[in-house]
């Protein structure tokens, strides 16, 4: 563990958390992403906005390697990870959540989180059952507590409510020592209370953990992010601070319909 912390500190000092150069992704003849270049500082928190089909989730898929980009390079903490499989990127501190929960429905909440903790540490192939004082199991319990799921800890995930599944989705992305997290619409479908809890979880993350968040709810997005990237038709349309984006006439015309001008 010590060496990963050391590596993280040295990396945060020298390199950008994320650096995309000319990233494009084609699905057949359809260009889902065209020539995306962006730089995210370590610890930076950025919202990605844009209408449906703007390429936000495809961008995430390229960064994590779920679908590799058709062209361009992706650097994670200074390291070129363009040709890495997803699990190698995850082991380097990248995490993500999914728009539609991708959970292990046949396992309990605790086992789900335990797997997430195990995935970024050694012993993934261990045939030895975790002992009662297992350190990873303990951190899995803490993580379950952190997303307020302790009452449902031993429940099979298939039996969880929608809101609980969304919380678990976030817990899976925070296992181990995350350095940069991609949140894909974490607030979608949540009740106002659950939304408040989510904002609290995001704003309370340790400072060195940066993230990018796709969020349709401008209220949530602008409260948890310090910078904003607007996407349109697979390209970056505008980048700036939340205030600049809010006040930009072009953006207002395209997406906000002036609705947020008086906020």
């Amino acid at each position: 563990m010590a060496e990963t912390v050391a590596a993280r500190l040295s990396a945060t000092g020298t390199a950008n958390a994320l650096e995309l150069r000319g990233v494009s992704r084609l699905f057949g003849a359809l260009a889902a992403l065209t020539d995306i270049s962006m730089t995210v500082q370590p610890g930076e928190r950025r919202a990605v906005l844009g209408s449906n089909g703007a390429g936000k989730t495809t961008l995430f898929n390229c960064i994590t390697g779920d679908f590799p980009p058709s062209s361009g390079t992706i650097r994670l903490f200074g390291e070129d990870v363009t040709d890495f499989p997803p699990y190698e990127r995850i082991r380097r501190g990248l995490r993500r959540t999914y728009q539609i929960s991708l959970l292990f429905t046949g396992l309990t909440v605790l086992d789900n989180v335990y797997l997430a903790c195990r995935g970024v540490s050694r012993g993934r192939f261990s045939f030895i059952r975790p002992r009662r004082n297992d350190a990873l199991m303990a951190s899995a319990r803490d993580l379950v507590e952190a997303v307020h799921l302790t009452p449902a800890r031993d429940t099979e995930v298939a039996a969880l409510s929608y809101g609980q599944q969304r919380q678990l989705e976030i817990a899976l992305a925070l296992a181990g020592a995350p350095r940069f997290v991609l949140f894909d619409e974490p607030a979608a479908g949540l009740s106002p209370t659950e939304r408040r809890e989510l904002i609290e979880i995001l704003t309370n993350l340790p400072e060195h953990i940066g993230y990018m968040i796709i969020e349709h709810d401008m209220d949530v997005a602008l409260r948890v992010a310090e910078s904003v990237t607007m996407m349109h038709n697979g390209r970056i349309f505008k980048e700036g601070s939340p205030q600049e984006i809010e006040e930009d006439p072009e953006v207002q015309e395209l997406y906000l319909g002036g609705g947020l001008a008086h906020h």
Partner: protein, 352 residues
């Protein structure tokens, strides 16, 4: 049969350590005792031709249950893996064909045979894991069929159509281990060990990760797991069980031939696992008992009814059809439903 209670299936119970014997339900002790004293009750025929055979088939089906139940990989190659171990035992050890058999002692031949089977199973797995669902079935079926034709047509190594016969089980410590009673205990020991290994591994990081792959392979990638490597490792583990069963099989039958590893037997293993139930490791053994009993007595039943004995396959098929018709999750599912109904008050419908 308390094996179906959630606390016994190993999904919960993290608070009590796994080695705490008070966690083992009473039914396990009862079944274990009956199995142990079986030689006092049953004759030689029941011991070797019913129970030992069922335990061996149960182990092979268990290896399929491990892959299908925990990893969602329906592999038709498990019987072939067992067959490879059987052939290798005959080739490395002794058989009537002394131009082929190397005549090495059993304690060299058997472990080597299992090793070759594990390598074969792992390579088959490596080919199969890049596919999903029906394509996995097709690829493993193709490997099984290819292996069948290889051993049938190759005379230099596998002695072609007639295979290798007069394969002897070991004899040491003054015990002829092929005798029904010793052999029954050997298979029982191996079967219980395999069963316990599967139950134990299912809750280990490796087993949990395999179930994670089953539920959501894409998410496993996004948690830092190399899904392909995990699946291949699962094939290796399953091959260890199937290979061990294969060595026992050749010792039980005294011979191995292409018929042992044909497409028919490969599908029989699938039937055993599905009819028994792939939700829990006990299922394959239940399925194997039913299969062996039907296989052995269907002919007698038909003849007793005045019908042609050659139609025994029909009776076997009808038996399996009946099980699957009433319960999509096999005998395990039937039993589970029966228990739930028994627990319920017939008037109010509430759980007692």
């Amino acid at each position: 049969m308390a094996v179906l209670d959630p606390e016994a299936t190993g999904t919960g119970g993290l608070e009590t350590p796994w080695w705490d014997i008070s966690r083992i339900p009473l039914v396990y002790w009862a079944v274990g005792l009956i199995l142990l004293i079986m030689p006092l009750i049953a004759g030689d025929f029941i011991l070797s031709q019913i129970l030992s055979w069922a335990l061996i088939l149960g182990m092979i089906a268990l290896s399929l249950m491990f892959l299908a139940g925990y990893g969602n990989m329906v592999s038709l190659v498990q019987m072939t893996v067992a067959g490879v171990a059987a052939y290798m035992t005959a080739i490395f050890g002794t058989s009537a064909i002394d131009t082929i058999s190397l005549g090495w002692p059993w304690w060299v031949a058997a472990p080597l045979a299992i090793l070759v089977a594990v390598i074969f199973g792992t390579l088959s797995g490596a080919l199969a894991v890049r596919t999903e669902g029906i394509y996995t079935i097709m690829i493993t079926l193709a490997i099984a069929a290819a292996m069948f034709y290889l051993v049938r047509q190759n005379y230099t190594l596998f002695n072609g159509f007639s295979g290798l016969n007069q394969v002897r089980a070991p004899e040491f410590w003054g015990v002829v281990w092929r005798d029904p009673i010793p052999f029954y205990y050997v298979t029982l020991f191996c079967a219980v060990l395999s069963y316990a290994a599967v139950v134990y591994v299912a809750r280990s990081p490796f087993g949990l990760a395999l179930q994670g792959v089953r539920d959501n392979a894409r998410r496993m990638h996004a948690l830092g797991f190399n899904v392909t490597a995990h699946r291949i490792a699962a094939y290796a583990f399953a091959s260890l069980i199937a290979g061990t069963a294969g060595v026992l099989l050749v010792w039980l039958n005294g011979q191995v031939s292409p018929g042992t590893i044909g497409v028919g037997p490969a599908i029989d293993i699938l039937i055993i696992a599905v009819v028994g139930g792939i939700a829990h490791p006990i299922g394959p053994f239940l399925g194997a008992i039913l299969y062996v009993v039907l296989r052995t007595f269907a002919l007698d039943v038909l003849v007793a009814l005045g019908l042609g004995g050659e139609r025994f396959q029909l009776l076997i098929g009808l038996g399996f059809l009946a099980v699957v018709f009433f319960s999509s999750d096999g005998l395990l599912g039937l039993w589970k439903r029966f228990r739930e109904r028994a627990k319920r008050d017939p008037v109010t419908g509430e759980t007692r």
